[in-house]
Symmetry: C2
Subunit: 399 residues, 2 copies
């Protein structure tokens, strides 16, 4: 697949020895000139060292690079963890200072993902970061290596790009994400990095990224366990840009498409998942209410097991909507599963159970369309189903 | 086990044909004289017909009996469901009017549990309720039959009793509950009935029952799916009673003990459960915060799978506390699992993983003690672990 890579960025991804075997575990994303950096971060109060670090420096008008390690989350590691995180930033800053005006550690963002509560193997990083810096390149192969270096239990890299034309100018957005749903001493976290050559106005960047995350990464779940390390970063060229509203809209639309495409790949790759479940709520009083209902259904183990068992179990879906804690009009509830009407006006309608079951079994994506009243509030959510394999994968930690 | 049954109540439980096979599916609990009736009910907005019915008549100063069917929840059944529910009350009222002053349907509470969305087989109930009424008796065998008639996927009846002495008077409390965690077209719901001969002051009854439920049935979970039919009822003798504070305290203490004992049996009997998990939170700012943290940990599939896999995975527990949405003091977190210290002052402490794993594997009950700061807020919660068997049981619905 050909990627539309923005100009002005270089990438690398190597195996430096944090993970066993030969899997890549260290990635760099570097801007040719100091760039704008925006970020959204986990709401968990138990935060990895890198999250506290990034929150200090972002939004940044002088972000020079991002260093990302996988295989170790550097979370719950106390003072040592903070020192190690700072040293990682310092190591990349040192390398970048060779060819550019001096780069400070505070110009470097850090992302970590993997085991919680273990010290980072700093000797590997002290050798690895300089080596990765020598391999920085702007081509697609380098981008792919970087996308590989951020993975943990993911089955494959998750990256995508978009190109937009504004007048005679062409811009690109490219992104890589990782995440398959687990967290904890085994593995963790959703990470994402978007790079673009579109000239974002600095004061608008955080809001633009937050809106994109709200419509993508905040609408997915595997088991709803917010990680200590979740982070999405956006890098764009620095400068005093003009903001033509149509141009910004075009960029935002492309950003939303891109982040949503990648976000959906996370539950699709969810641990043990046999279905990607799309929950589309309509008819709620407010968008926020629709979101809350979608999330409640997505977190119901009974709904998730019903789908993995290809069971047209509408009672579990309807009753989950009922305890979401927001108003619904019970007598107006309407439920359509994979295009087949199961429930209308608050009452079940006759349907062929075998037909619905086969429709679930025959498709990787399950569509749940639930209308909960006559309001205009709508929301979408994507989640994975719950299988015996999920339980096995998450119960079998080597002790 | 000898039960302390209160005087003034009769019980019966029969198979009337709602369930296949010979399993009991219809129970009656009847007061010799019109009694006080109190109740707490599901917060789900999608409610069974019986819940709406009971909420109209409770608290009641003239509750004569409770009719309970299992095997059919009579939920999401519309107008027909409401009519059928009223007819059930009417059938028992008619039987009780034979020996007493006239009993109205509005003197009868109704509880249903089982399949959602199917009409009740009324011909079975029209024959069953009169038959069950002829078998009403006040002895322990009759109580046990009633406790059997309310079960769905439970492995055994769940009943217990307490006796208290106040001055020279002896009072008894006896209770039956059902619930194993599932809900939906397959099976559903937590139900509970407490009967006592202690003279509760009418105006205090609802608060007394609510407090007991808050400290027992509202502190357990299997998968957190609030049912359409959850209900707990309390019956006590009617009359203008005096309330000696010590007597009320003694009664409430016994009621709390009784309801907590029975509540814990629900997750212990949870579908596919291999562990009962006790989560004890301390050090929170407020009791409500401690409750919220306990509930968040209890609902984490990653915590639940870690316990089923005997994995001392403290990162999952600590990070679940971090996203509970209430303040915690991260640097003061202290975690003890089955008596072994794993985490202190916000950092992991060295421990023998094999020893902790064996401690989990060797005991049906897992004790998670988590202190989240220096506050005085404490709370307890009980839940079941998550096993591949849970997934299988809930995915395999016959279509």
């Amino acid at each position: 697949m050909d990627m539309n890579l923005p100009v002005g960025f270089r990438f690398s991804g190597i195996h430096c020895g944090i993970k066993a075997g030969q899997k890549k575990d260290l990635s760099l994303i570097v801007a040719d000139r100091p760039a704008f950096g925006f970020g959204v971060f986990t709401q968990n109060l138990v935060r990895a060292a890198c999250i506290d670090w990034n929150r200090e420096l972002i939004p940044s008008q002088n972000l020079c690079g991002i260093v990302i390690n996988s295989g170790n989350a550097n979370a719950c590691t106390g003072t040592l963890g903070r020192d190690n995180n700072q040293e990682m930033a310092g190591l990349l800053a040192h390398e970048l200072s060779r060819n550019q005006p001096r780069v400070n550690p505070s110009n470097i963002a850090v992302l970590s993902t993997g085991v919680i509560g273990r010290p980072l193997p700093m000797e590997r990083l002290r050798a690895g970061i300089p080596q990765a810096a020598t391999e920085l390149a702007s081509d697609q192969a380098a981008f792919s290596r970087a996308a590989e270096g951020i993975l943990t239990t993911d089955h494959a890299t998750k990256s995508a790009s978009r190109a937009i034309e504004i007048g005679e100018k062409k811009y690109s957005l490219a992104a890589m994400v990782k995440g398959a749903g687990m967290i904890g001493p085994n593995m963790a976290t959703m990470l994402g990095v978007v790079v673009t050559d579109f000239p974002i106005v600095f004061s608008e960047g955080q809001r633009i990224l937050q809106r994109a995350a709200d419509h993508s990464f905040n609408r997915i779940s595997v088991e709803g366990h917010t990680s200590t390390n979740d982070a999405v970063l956006l890098m764009s060229p620095s400068g005093e840009h003009q903001a033509a509203p149509e141009a910004v809209s075009k960029f935002e639309a492309a950003l939303h498409e891109l982040t949503l495409e990648l976000a959906k790949r996370i539950p699709a790759d969810g641990e043990g998942a046999s279905h990607l479940i799309h929950i589309a709520i309509s008819g709620a009083g407010r968008e926020k209410d629709a979101e809350q209902i979608a999330r409640t259904i997505a977190l119901s183990n009974l709904v998730k097991t019903a789908i993995s068992g290809a069971d047209p179990n509408w009672g579990r879906i309807v009753s989950a909507a009922g305890y979401a804690g927001v108003p619904i009009e019970v007598e107006k509830i309407r439920l359509v599963l994979n295009g087949i009407l199961l429930f209308e006006n608050g009452q079940p309608v006759p349907f062929n159970e075998r037909e619905v079951s086969q429709a679930i079994r025959g498709s990787f994506e399950t569509e749940i369309e639930l209308s909960v009243g006559s309001g205009t509030g709508r929301s979408d959510h994507w989640t994975s189903d719950l299988t015996a394999d999920y339980v096995k994968l998450n119960a079998e930690y080597t002790t």
